[in-house]
């Protein structure tokens, strides 16, 4: 089994888990869900770290590309989780009110 096929299995199974996990999220939480999921998609930062931190190439181009990728991905990750937290902090049940 080639690496691609193996990865494809993982991808498809993860999609199914995603559908199962998220299809029951109530409408009240759709915006935080979206921004939280969005932050998770910033996981691409792991790839950016590898590209930027790798050396052994003659050119610096890939390092610069990696650097920009890190900036982009970090904005996505840090901003995404923080703003989601800010929103969820506001969600209160009636009993919590004083």
């Amino acid at each position: 089994m080639s690496a691609l096929i193996f990865s494809l299995f993982i991808f498809v199974l993860a999609c199914f888990i995603g559908f199962e996990l998220i299809s029951k999220v109530p409408p009240t939480l759709h915006t935080p869900l979206m921004s939280g999921a969005n932050a998770i998609s910033g996981i691409t930062i792991v790839g950016a770290l590898i590209v930027a931190g790798h050396s052994g190439t003659d050119s610096q181009i890939s390092q610069i590309i990696g650097f920009v990728a890190i900036v982009f991905a970090t904005i996505n990750v840090v901003g995404g989780f923080m703003v989601t937290d800010r929103m969820l902090e506001m969600f209160k049940k009636k009993e919590d009110e004083k």
Binding site: S41, I43, I70, I75, G79, G80
Partner: protein, 472 residues
Amino acid sequence: MSQFLPEAFLPYLPDTIQIIYLIATFFFIRGLKLLNSPATARKGNQFAALGMFIGIVVTLFDQQIISFEWIIAGILIGGLIGAVLAKKVAMTAMPELVAVFNGFGGGASALVAWGEFSRLVDPTTMTPDSLVTTGLGIFIGSLTFTGSFIAFGKLKGFISGNAITFPGLNVINIGSMIGVLVLIGFFTVDPTNQTIFWIILGLSLLIGITSVIPIGGADMPVVISLLNSYSGIAASMAGFVIGNNLLIISGALVGAAGLILTNIMCKAMNRSLTNVIFGAFGGDSGGGSGADTGDKSVRETTAEDLAIQVGYASKVVIVPGYGLAVAQAQHVLKEVAGKLEERGVQVKYGIHPVAGRMPGHMNVLLAEADVPYDQLLDMDQINPEFKTTDVVLVIGANDVVNPVAKTEPGSPIYGMPILNVDEAKRTIVFKRSLSPGYAGIDNPLFYAEKNQMFFGDAKKSLQALNEALNDV
């Protein structure tokens, strides 16, 4: 950072990193699961953030990574920008911010695919399948990047919210997409050909622009959801390129989430996804079909009169729309609701799925005004309740309460599920004027016998009502 580890451990390092990635995956999945309930959602988000932190830290121990200047600089700059944006944003501007973050995420994924490709001295050593995924990663990532920024511009008003289109644009878009896929095929055969690579990149960026530009303002919730899904898939593709399961799984989870929300939004507007993408429907000025407001008459009400009506009602339902948020009236609304509850009036909020500018947006805006989430009912929950409701206050909403969606098969919004406010004993519409809504369609509810109009700015009207309630 692998040099800090004992020499004897190094042979086990790659597997250890993978195991820790698995733990990070667990945190993501657990976090998303906790996002299913408002009571645990905050913890869920923190779980996911912890998973991300673990993933990042363990990656730094990867033996391939030997220089840290760029990494530290990048994380500091990105972290600062992200934190400032997240702290400063107003809740009404949440869709714009999500669009921006989305764009950066997609852009990062495209760059990872590109960077991985360019760091290999001889691309011919790459296997055909990693070349295909590189091409796809660049394609999806780039179009997410530009598409998200166009969506941002439209939401922000930099770019007209109207559907900007011209004959043949759809053909050009579909043609370009097929073109990119064919070029990725060529790229796989001859990865040394720089020209092909640049055309793929350029065309992908262009497709992001030309495919979002023709989509009307009313459809932005769908577009944001869809772009969210793309950014997940782009991360997955980047995972395929660098052979990293953590990226593949997390990206797939996000891709699925975005797709579900896209589907929910489409259903809420009774539109198919193809229709949203190629339909060029709706704009922010609503220049749509014949609004013959001519000789029909409406009944107007005053704050004092309204205060008596709601003050002595037993059940009041509030239907808020984006207009409420634009007028920054949610806090006054909450005060009015509080006074009514003190008088023993039962108050509920009915929220249409497309109220606001992104899925669930209205709920966040009301949460900001301290409205408890268990008073916010979605369409399926509130619709059976209208029959027993004395007064419905429709504030800044229009199309989502338009009975035309049920009665006139010729109407563009026909079939769209709406809030059946006309079943209540009385409806009050807070509105500036009789102008049609987002979809550009006149609303017969305004002229119904049971309806009264309360003209004016939503905030001022609610303030007046709030004061009038003191004297009832």
